[in-house]
Amino acid sequence: MAATKTRSSSFSRNISAASTPQIPGLKCGPNGTIFVSSGIPDLDKILGGGFPLGSLVMVMEDIEAPHHMLLLRNFMSQGLVHNQPLLYASPSREPRAFLGTLPSPVLSKDDKSRDHDLEQEKGLRIAWQYRKYLGENQQNFEGQRDGKPDYCNDFDLRKPLERHFLSNQRIDCFSLEGSPNLDPFRERCSTFLAQLPRYDGNLTSACRIAIQSFYAPQCEYSNTEWEMLSFVRSLKSMVQSSNAVAVLTFPPSLVSSSFSKRLQHLADTLLSVKAIPDEDKELANLLTGYNDMVGLLNVHKVAHFNTQVPVILEATTFSIKLKKRRSLVLECLNQAPIDGSSGTSYATTGSCSGSSKTGTLDF
């Protein structure tokens, strides 16, 4: 006779109460990481929640396509919508002008196509004869539902961001072109990041840094590769010790290959965008939705903090599409159906089986 005695062990699970900050724009993830949205709902899902706080995200550009600008725009807009401080640096003389091209979030409810997925799963119908006895065996699909509805917004790329977001004091712009070396920029980054140090105790907000086209050839410092590498390294350490996420884009074809590899190793999350050839019949035959695609996104590395377990993705290449020409969606590459008219089609070979009837069998 086993007497079931519930013995409470002396070890109790340490569920820290502060693990769920109800701060808009931040989400808790596994292993004590806190996520910040990238501005693209599909990308958040792929990366397992978003960009972790304290990480350095690198996007490798393709010099033939401006897709990295799409990623940057969404990232920056998301930060502004959540009222997070933003530092933007670019090689152009007037970086402020870029802020005028940031998209505004889509507010209509009927665009929540995410709900579709969940309802489909909830309605899973099982043809099981004992179901009537054992009750509804509903599979509760706990999908990657982004907690609050406004953690990650869908952005309308055709509408510019409203003025009141942009007149926020906390937007800082820096032009990379003027300076002969990176010291002034490094100073600016460290003062910017000093406003939200990591080990402060209370988590109030997160800040975002967006650096566009870091290796643009018109910048004077672009010849000094070791300097640039050491800058990125110090940026990474600064970001790690503050509540910030930095996104840096650079064109790898303009960098010598050894430095390109070093930069890639410095990144916590590494993405790359690629252009696709226009009117390519082979590609159109291979993929569905080729006409809607504007480019390809590759996920090379996903940040994993506080864990030894690597993140292995099902698919690493995604197509970038503009849904209704306004919002960015990332889709898995799907193979186009093979043309049925070529080769022996099912219909013609099926005739032999169709003619046989489940009829009289003579023994």
Binding site: P277, T288, L333
Partner: protein, 377 residues
């Protein structure tokens, strides 16, 4: 296609966007870059004169050929010399790029030769100072089109010459300023790719929106050996070649085009490619999955399918098949048989029936049933 490029240059820039820029790239294997450059120059000038293009003037930075060469070239295309002043300005970086002649004249070593007194040509004596160069280009352009909304095109004879004298970052800065300037309609330049580092070529490609590369018809396998086959290939390469164009479109896609060209006496002729080689971007799509998502229509169809057992429980008693139904019918016979399997056939003509008796009763009832039997459709 060369036509497409010339049209793109003719159409020029939209408001608020960077001006289109063309890089013409060649190499020693197929050194016809200058021919293509002259062709594009002539086309653009024809368009400017006919007032078909967005730009109203052309500023030419001449580094590898003298200005008189270009005057002769444009004259031979039927342009009137007297009218040059109205739409053409040449920045002469060929005669005295580093200012040596000026210095020699200053110390009296050479007699002062009367320069080509022309109001279309401005002499540049220091090509290393790119800030001054870019200012001169802007000034010349403004001379042509005025201060207002007029636009002009810029042609740089040889970007390779510029890179020789200045660092790539300053050249890139100059080009990007040109492109982003309000009054520049389009820009194009020639580059000899084998004179530079790969990074330098990549930087200039980064700066341009169109890339035209000139390649030989067929690459000879071994350059040194003077085989007869190689000689014929060389002959072919001597006046023919291939012209690959990569156009960056606004939606982020890249348009790839191929053409062949043939150099005749003084002009160049572009023809469409005779054989389609079908260049596919290999390795672009590593992992392609099958689409497992349902479209709306498919979802509705799926909802309509009646699954087995779904219609049960609606009033009729629920039946559960446990594999013993057949025994009820033949229970009378099965009690007799113990181990031997008896197969009894019904002697009904034209109709076949299989009656199966279980080997023994203590067999697990579910082991021999057809798993599809319990579906109740």
């Amino acid at each position: 296609m060369a036509e497409l490029i010339c049209r793109a240059l003719r159409d020029g820039a939209l408001d608020g966007e960077h001006a289109p820029a063309l890089t013409i790239k060649d190499s020693i294997d197929s050194p016809f870059g200058p021919h293509v450059f002259n062709h594009v120059l002539a086309q653009l000038s024809a368009n400017i004169l006919a007032a078909k293009s967005q730009s109203q003037g052309l500023v030419l930075v001449a580094s590898s050929q003298s200005p008189s060469f270009y005057f002769d070239l444009l004259k031979s295309r039927g342009n009137d010399v007297a009218s040059f002043h109205k739409w053409l300005r040449v920045l002469d970086c060929y005669t005295d790029p580093l200012g040596w002649k000026v210095r020699l004249m200053a110390c009296g070593s050479i007699s002062s030769r009367s320069p080509e007194a022309s109001n279309t040509v401005r002499l540049c004596t220091d090509v290393r100072n790119l800030d001054n160069l870019s200012l001169s280009i802007m000034e010349l352009g403004r001379e042509l089109v005025g201060q207002g909304k007029g636009r002009f095109s810029v042609a740089i004879d040889s970007a390779s010459e510029m890179i020789r004298h200045a660092s790539i970052s300053s050249v890139a800065a100059l080009l990007s300023n040109l492109r982003s300037h309000d009054q520049v309609s389009c820009a194009f330049w020639l580059l000899h790719s084998d004179l530079h580092d790969v990074r330098v070529t990549a930087a200039l490609e980064y700066m341009s929106s169109m890339l035209g590369s000139i390649e030989p018809m067929n690459r000879p396998a071994n350059v040194q050996r003077g085989n007869s086959e190689n000689l014929s290939l060389f002959e072919q390469n001597s006046n023919k070649g291939k012209f690959h164009v990569r156009l960056k479109r606004r939606n982020g896609r890249v348009r790839l085009m191929n053409e062949e060209f043939c150099i005749e006496q003084s002009s160049i002729k572009f023809t469409a490619v005779s054989s389609e080689d079908g260049i596919i971007s290999q390795g672009l799509v590593p992992k392609v999955q099958f689409n497992l998502q349902l479209s709306e229509k498919e979802r509705i169809e799926r909802a309509k399918v009646v699954l087995p057992f779904e219609h049960q429980g609606t009033g009729k008693p629920i039946e559960i098949y446990d594999g013993r139904q057949s025994l009820n019918e033949s229970s009378t016979e099965s009690t007799n048989s113990s181990s031997a399997e008896k197969v009894q056939t019904n002697q009904d003509p034209g109709k076949g029936e299989i009656i199966y008796f279980r080997d023994s009763d203590d067999e697990m009832p579910d082991s021999d049933e057809d798993p599809d039997d319990d579906l109740d459709i």
